[in-house]
Symmetry: C2
Subunit: 441 residues, 2 copies
C-alpha cells in the first residue's frame, strides 16, 4: 500500500485527457502537489492509503477551470457603469474611477475578492493583467489559487508608473520576486497595439526572450480598433505583429474579435494562442470572434471572463454556456461549439493557451492537483444523460462544492478555507464607498 | 395596530411599480394572499403587527419572476440531445422520446421537478404548454406555484388525444376543473400555425371568446417556419393571424424570431403580446428576435426559458442575462436592452404579457403576494453600485433564498417547504432510466 496525502472520490470524473475519459465511481490520488493516480474507487483502495479522504458521492470530479483573461482587482468596479457607449463607459466611468482610486490596497483587496469568487465558481488558475500586479500575486498566493500575472504596460502613466521604462522595471521586479513560486507565474503584458509604442513592444519582446516568459495583449477587440490600427500601420494588426517578431507559441492574444481568415492562418501557422471572452464581447457590443474557424485552424483557444466591469462576474460556467450558444445563433448552426469542445476550452485547451498544458488542465498522473467537484444531486441537474451538457447548459458557478489547488483543499462544501470572506467583502465595501465619493468631487 | 399574517424585511426592495421605486430598509406586509402595504421598515413597524416576520437583512426583496414560456415536464429530457441540427434533434430524439415515454406520470413528476427548479431560482408564475397539462396543474398546485397552463393542440395525435376534437374537449375539461382556482389558470394553446388546421384554430378562437381566456402559440421561431408559412398562406403568418381574427390582447406568441417591421406594427396595433426566449433561440440556432424594436413599438414583451430540452434549465436570471447581452452584440450597440428594462421584462412586463399585470409582477398594495429575496452578501455580488445591474449581469438562480407565492412561504433559506426534493429527483431519475431504455429498443 502506497501512502499518499489525499484521495478524492466521486460518482463520475471527467478527466479531460486526450481520450476524453468519463469514469464512473472515480478516485483521484494526490501526493503533495501532484496527481499520482486516477482510477476506479475500488481499484484505488487496493493500492493507496491516504491521510485524508474526501468523499463526493453524488458529485462530478473534474480539473479546475482555467480563466485565460481577467483583471481581478476590477471586482471593485463591478456594476459601476453598464449599458453605455464604449467611449462613454471608458472615459466617463472606468478611466476616472481607476485614476482616482487604484492603489496597492485596492489591487490587493479587489484581487482577493476576485480569488474568492473564482474559487467559489471552480476556477483554479487565472491569467491576469492589471495595475500593481504584485498585490494580485500576493492575494492569489494567500488564497492558494494558481495564477499567471503581468503588469499592464502602455506609453502613458499608470497609477503604478510614470513612464514605460518604470513599467518594464516593475515587470522585472515581479519576475525576480516570484521566480520559482509554486503558484504565482509572471508574464509580460503590453496593453494593446493602440496604447504601446513600437519601442515599448521591442523591450517587451526582449524581456520575453531573456526570461522565456509568455506575452499577453488585447488584440482586435472591435471594429474601431481594427480600423485605427490599419490606418496606423498601413497593414493589418496581425501582419504588424508578424513583422515585429511577436507571432510565436509564447503569445496569447485576448479577444481577437475582428480576426480575418488571414489573421487566423497566421496565428495557426505560428502556434499563437487566443483567449475568447464572449460575455464581455457581448456586453460591450464588441462583436463575435470567429472561434469555430480558429478551432478548425488548430489554434489553442481558451476562455476568459475579462474583468468585472465588463462581465460582471468571474464565473467560467457562465462563460462556457455563453460560448456554446453565441456561435450557434451567429452562424445559424446548432452543431458548432458543442458542449464537449467548450468544456475542453475552459480546462485543458485554456491551459495549453497559457503554456501550462503540461502542468494543469486535466486529471492525469504527473499533473498538478487542481481539482473541483460539482454536486449533481439538485433539481436543475436532474436527470443526468450527459455530463458535458449539464456543465455547459444547466449548471452554474455555485454548483461547485470543493476545490483543490496544487494539492491543497482551498474550499470544502462551499466554505473557503484560505480567505476570510466577510473580511474581504467588508474591505471592498469600504473601497466602493470611496469610489462613489470620488465621482461626486 | 393592524394585525397581518406576514411581514418580510430586507436591505433593499425593487418594487417594479410604475415609478421603478428602489427602497432602502424596506418591508412588505402580507395579509392572506395579498400585499397590503410596502414601506420603510421603521414606518411599517408602527402600523402593523404580524403573526410571522421574515428578516432578510442583507437581501434584496422583489417580485418573483414570471416565466412566459415553458414546457415544464420536459425536465425529464434535460440534456438528452444537444448540439444537433434542428430536424435531427426533433426527429431522432425529442419526438421519439415523447412518443414512447410521455404519460401522466412523466407529466406530473417532470412538472414537479420543474416547479422545484423554478421556485429555487425565483420564479413564482409560469406559463406552460405541454401534454397532460392537468398533471402539470396538479404539480403546480402542490408546489404552491402560480401558473397559466394549456394543453398543446395540433392536428395529429398526441400521447393524450387521438384527434384535435379530443384535444379541445380536454381543454374544456381543464377550464371547468380549475375554474376559480387561486393558483392555476388555464389558457388555450394551439401548438403553431404549421401544425394546426384552420378549423382547429377556429375552434380555439371560439373557446377563447366563450371563456374569455388567453391564447398562446409558437410563432415564427426560425426562417424555415417563416418560409413554410408564407408558401402555405400566400401571405405572412401575422397577416394570416389578423385575417382569422387572432390579433388582440388575449394573444401571446412565443419566440417571434422572424418578425418583420410590419409584423411588429400589427402586433403593436392590436395589443398582442410576445414571449422572448433568447437562450432557446441561441441554443437551437433559431435566430435573434427584434426585441428592441418590439419594445420601441410598445409591445408587451416578457421573457421565457422554453423547455429543458432546448435551454437546458428554467432559470430566469440566466434568461435576463442572455437577453441583455444578445441584442447588444447583435446590434453592436451596448445601450440597448439595459438591465432595468430586462428586469421589468422578467417581472411586470411578463405579467402584462400573460394578462396578469393587474394581479402580479410588482410589489404594490392590492397585488398578490408573490415575492422573492436575493442574498447580496456574497463575493460575486460585492460591492453593490446598482441593483438592476447585479441581478442581470452578476447574480445566478441559486442566489434566491426565500420565495413567497400567494402569501405562502414555499421556500425559506433555500429549503423547499412544499416539495420533497429527494423524492421528485428520485422519481424523475427512474423515468430517465426508462427514457434511456426506450432508445435502445
Amino acid at each position: 500500500m502506497q501512502e499518499v496525502d489525499l484521495i478524492i472520490t466521486g460518482a463520475k470524473a471527467l478527466l479531460l485527457d486526450s481520450q476524453n475519459t468519463i469514469m464512473d465511481r472515480a478516485a483521484v490520488v494526490i501526493k503533495e502537489d501532484e496527481i499520482v493516480a486516477v482510477g476506479r474507487t475500488d481499484e484505488i483502495a487496493k493500492q493507496f492509503r491516504a491521510k485524508t479522504t474526501i468523499s463526493a458521492g453524488h458529485s462530478l470530479i473534474m480539473p479546475g477551470f482555467v480563466n485565460c483573461h481577467t483583471h481581478a482587482a476590477m471586482t471593485c468596479f463591478r456594476g459601476i457603469a453598464d449599458d453605455l457607449e464604449l467611449m462613454d463607459w471608458l472615459n466617463s466611468y472606468i478611466f476616472p474611477a481607476e485614476a482616482k482610486n487604484v492603489n496597492p490596497e485596492l489591487a490587493y483587496w479587489g484581487s482577493l475578492l476576485g480569488a474568492a469568487e473564482m474559487i467559489k465558481s471552480g476556477t483554479t488558475t487565472f491569467c491576469d493583467m492589471y495595475i500593481f500586479e504584485d498585490e494580485t500575486a500576493r492575494a492569489a498566493k494567500e488564497a492558494g489559487i494558481r495564477c499567471l500575472v503581468g503588469e499592464v504596460l502602455f506609453d502613458f502613466p499608470s497609477p503604478n508608473f510614470k513612464t514605460p521604462e518604470e513599467g518594464i522595471a516593475y515587470t522585472k521586479f515581479l519576475i525576480e520576486k516570484w521566480q520559482g513560486d509554486s503558484l504565482v507565474n509572471i508574464m509580460i503584458e503590453p496593453h494593446a497595439l493602440y496604447t504601446c509604442s513600437q519601442s515599448l513592444l521591442g523591450e517587451v519582446k526582449e524581456l520575453s526572450q531573456n526570461y522565456h516568459l509568455p506575452i499577453g495583449l488585447h488584440l482586435l477587440e472591435n471594429a474601431a480598433e481594427k480600423k485605427q490600427l490599419e490606418e496606423k500601420f498601413g497593414k493589418g494588426a496581425v501582419s504588424f505583429l508578424k513583422d515585429i517578431g511577436y507571432l510565436n507559441e509564447q503569445l496569447i492574444a485576448f479577444h481577437c474579435v475582428c480576426f480575418s481568415d488571414e489573421d487566423i492562418k497566421m496565428f495557426a501557422d505560428h502556434g499563437c494562442n487566443v483567449s475568447h471572452n464572449p460575455v464581455s464581447n457581448m456586453k460591450l457590443a464588441s462583436g463575435i470572434a470567429p472561434v469555430p474557424e480558429m478551432l478548425k485552424a488548430g489554434i489553442n483557444v481558451g476562455l476568459g471572463t475579462d474583468g468585472c466591469a465588463s462581465n460582471n462576474n468571474l464565473d467560467m460556467i457562465k462563460e462556457m454556456s455563453t460560448a456554446a450558444k453565441l456561435h450557434k445563433v451567429a452562424l445559424l448552426d446548432p452543431t458548432v461549439m458543442d458542449a464537449h469542445t467548450v468544456v475542453r476550452m475552459a480546462t485543458i485547451e485554456g491551459a495549453k493557451a497559457l503554456g501550462m498544458g503540461h502542468k494543469i488542465g486535466s486529471l492525469e498522473p504527473g499533473k498538478k492537483a487542481d481539482i473541483i467537484t460539482i454536486g449533481l444531486n439538485k433539481p436543475h441537474l436532474t436527470p443526468l444523460y450527459n455530463e458535458y451538457s449539464h456543465l455547459v447548459y444547466a449548471a452554474c458557478g455555485n454548483d461547485v462544492d470543493t476545490v483543490i489547488i496544487n494539492g491543497k483543499v482551498v474550499m470544502e462544501n462551499r466554505k473557503l478555507l484560505t480567505i476570510d470572506e466577510e473580511e474581504v467583502m467588508g474591505e471592498v465595501g469600504k473601497i466602493a464607498e470611496q469610489v462613489k465619493e470620488s465621482f461626486k468631487k
